[in-house]
């Protein structure tokens, strides 16, 4: 178990180093950091001196090591556009993105699993067919279109929900600004959360349905029925748990992509999160923000991956080797 965790952590570190390399290449070679830092009137000599003093003439390996060292300390330099430390910018916007991703991820999981199980058990029912048809729309419509449609119906026509922003927020300890505690904050969350989670929900639903149908065909389900267990015990005790083993992995990874895909939703709803920050930075080639965002997203992916693997381990006893494999 311990060896397994250590191996997974080492793998994660390697992945992060690879991402750091890409991020560094972006930082160092896309655009000229000097150009962005100084004004038009700075002379060539001054630029060269600055280049030297910033270590931009050092060997590649040295520069990369410095970049990684800084990154580990959360040091990604100053935003060209906003003239603030990048890390400060990101941290101030991270709560908005995380709250949005958390709510839409949870909703996608709960509704996705419920709908998947339902459509698998009532394969030929009218409601199942309806759900499957609607879900096809869910996967085929682009996210921004869903967002715009929702805004049009619920914000413009019905005027039930706000169409942009986070509403009022409350600042918690460590500067975490939450929208959960106010009425307008919660209302503002609904449309973006649906927009962001719909696609993932559809994916989870289809995955759960396919897995569940697969599991329902297995011998141990037949044997469970042959033992006279109730449908409830067979479906929710035996089948669902086996269905969840692969679903956990995919769902965990989905959470990572929810955070990554938040870019589009945040743009549509003017949600003040890191995704919107990233898009605004891309427009003006604000390289430090871009490379920091890249590293951050990769870090979130890697951490989620690690947690998913450990969860997998907890659910599936076959992976727990500490008891010594097959005994006779």
């Amino acid at each position: 178990m311990l060896a397994y965790i250590i191996r997974r952590i080492v793998q994660s570190v390697l992945v992060m180093l690879a991402v750091a390399l890409v991020s560094f290449a972006l930082f160092r070679y896309v655009g000229d950091p000097i150009y962005a830092m100084v004004g038009q009137e700075t002379s060539l000599e001054d630029r060269a001196a600055l280049r030297d003093s910033l270590g931009l003439n050092d060997p590649f390996v040295v520069q990369f090591a410095r970049f990684v060292g800084n990154a580990v300390q959360g040091e990604f330099g100053i935003s060209y556009r906003l003239q603030q430390p990048v890390m400060e910018l990101i941290l101030s916007r991270l709560p908005a993105t995380l709250e949005l991703a958390l709510i839409s991820g949870m909703a996608a999981f709960v509704f996705g699993v419920a709908a998947g199980v339902y459509t698998a058990l009532r394969r030929r029912g009218a409601l199942s067919t309806a759900i499957m048809t609607v879900s096809l729309i869910g996967v085929s419509l682009p996210t921004f279109l869903i967002g715009v449609l929702l805004i049009w119906v619920f914000a413009v026509e019905l005027q039930w929900l706000p169409s942009f922003g986070r509403g009022d927020t409350v600042t918690l300890p460590w500067g975490w600004e939450t929208g959960f505690l106010t009425q307008s904050g919660r209302a503002s969350l609904i449309l973006p959360a649906i927009t962001l989670g719909l696609y993932q929900m559809t994916l989870i639903m289809r995955l759960v349905r396919a897995e569940m149908l697969e599991v329902l065909r297995t011998d141990y389900i037949k044997f469970a029925r042959a033992r006279g267990l109730s449908n409830r015990a067979v479906h929710f005790g035996h089948a669902l748990k086996n269905t969840m083993v692969p679903v956990i992995t995919i769902t965990g990874l989905q959470l990572g992509s929810i955070i990554a895909f938040a870019i589009i939703t945040e743009t549509v709803f003017q949600w003040p999160g890191v995704g919107a920050l990233f898009i605004n930075s891309v427009r003006v080639v604000d390289v430090p923000v871009m490379s920091a965002y890249l590293v951050l997203i990769a870090l979130i992916f890697v951490v989620i991956n690690l947690i998913v693997d450990l969860l997998y381990y907890a659910v599936d006893p076959r992976l727990r080797v500490e008891r010594g494999g097959v005994r006779h």
């Binding site: 297995t218 011998d219 141990y220 037949k222 044997f223 469970a224 029925r225 042959a226 033992r227 006279g228 267990l229 109730s230 449908n231 015990a233 005790g237 035996h238 748990k241 086996n242 083993v245 659910v315 599936d316 006893p317 076959r318 008891r323 494999g325 097959v326 005994r327 006779h328």
Partner: protein, 328 residues
């Protein structure tokens, strides 16, 4: 013969398909007496497993029992409500499937699967169920049952898992056990032990057994009577000794080889030239006529009924005349 425990009358099982309805069983009738072991043999696809599935009411839709009756004691069970039939499964009829590696839910301990089965059918506390489960495991020959009960299926070898499966099938003390090729998936070295365990426990509880197998040796040693199935029809049924030594149906004769003795029967079924017809291409008259060496005109026209040839011995072949004499 005493009043049968199980009585199957003219059972017809059909599978509607796009290209017409397939008859997997066509007029199968047989009885099993209390405490009796009935062997069931026949080539792959003959309908052995479907017979078992029909009896416990687990034919996969759209397959269905089209006509016929299944009686268990004084109860007609082929028309019970799903809930009433569920209470028969496990409680009155136990089932052992072919592959012990896939019959057990990999995510639950043996203890959980056993106590769940016991408590579904019997009024027992968790503690009582566990004590019963340990006694059962001990009885089927799991060493250190009290400790092993908390292991997962993957901790057991194939032979041990099949013992667990037998314990599960017998957990609620059924009157009839249907064992569908219980040793086919096992190592040759443990096959005999598994059959012995099954036979002994059923004998000591007075339970009847329907033993589906390809192994004539097992039939010879274990069964009281044997039924031979061909293309969904009963070809011959009778006491093991008579059927092996004096087969009254050319198909059975072919299966047993040319000079059968009880010792010789330990071999696997002999290959007969030709193949069993597919369900959508069963010839008119006797289903065996394309492969039969003694085929007559009549065999191509009329289907032979199962008729007595000797006490307790019946055959469906025109070579047997109405008085039961055999012109072979």
């Amino acid at each position: 013969m005493t009043k049968p425990l199980l009585s199957v009358r003219d059972l017809v099982v059909e599978f509607p398909t796009r290209r017409g309805t397939l008859r997997a069983l066509d007029g199968v009738s047989f009885d099993i007496a209390p405490g009796e072991v009935l062997g069931m043999v026949g080539e792959s696809g003959a309908g052995k497993s479907i017979t078992g599935a029909a009896i416990i009411g687990l034919i996969e839709p759209p397959g269905r029992i089209a006509s016929g009756e299944v009686w268990l004691g004084d109860t007609r069970i082929d028309q019970l409500s799903p809930e009433a039939m569920r209470r028969v499964r496990g409680r009155r009829i136990g089932m052992v499937f072919q592959d012990p590696l896939t019959s057990l839910n990999p995510l639950y301990t043996i203890a959980r699967q056993l106590t769940e089965t016991i408590r579904t059918h019997m009024d027992a506390s968790e503690g009582e169920a566990r004590a019963r489960a340990i006694a059962l495991l001990d009885r089927v020959g799991i060493p250190a049952a009290a400790r092993r009960i908390d292991d997962y299926p993957h901790h057991f070898s194939g032979g041990m898992r099949q013992r667990v499966v037998i314990a599960l099938a017998l957990a609620a003390e059924p009157e009839l056990v249907i064992a569908d090729e219980p040793t086919t998936a096992l190592d040759v070295s443990v096959q005999a032990q598994i059959i012995d365990v099954l036979k002994e426990i059923c004998a000591e509880r007075g339970a009847s057994v329907m033993l589906i197998t390809h192994d004539m040796g097992v039939i010879a040693e274990t069964a009281d009577r044997v039924a031979v199935l061909y293309a969904g029809r009963m070809a011959e049924i009778g006491p093991v000794r008579d059927v092996i030594l004096q087969p009254r149906h050319p198909y059975t004769a072919g299966l047993m080889g040319s000079i059968p003795t009880l010792e010789h029967a330990a071999d696997r079924l002999v290959q007969i030239p030709g193949a069993m017809p597919r369900l959508d291409a069963i010839p008119a008259g006797c289903a065996f006529n394309p492969r039969c060496t003694q085929v007559m005109d009549r065999c191509l026209r009329d289907r032979p009924a199962l008729r007595p040839v000797a006490p307790h011995h019946a055959s469906a072949c025109w070579l047997v005349d109405d008085k039961g004499a055999h012109h072979g």
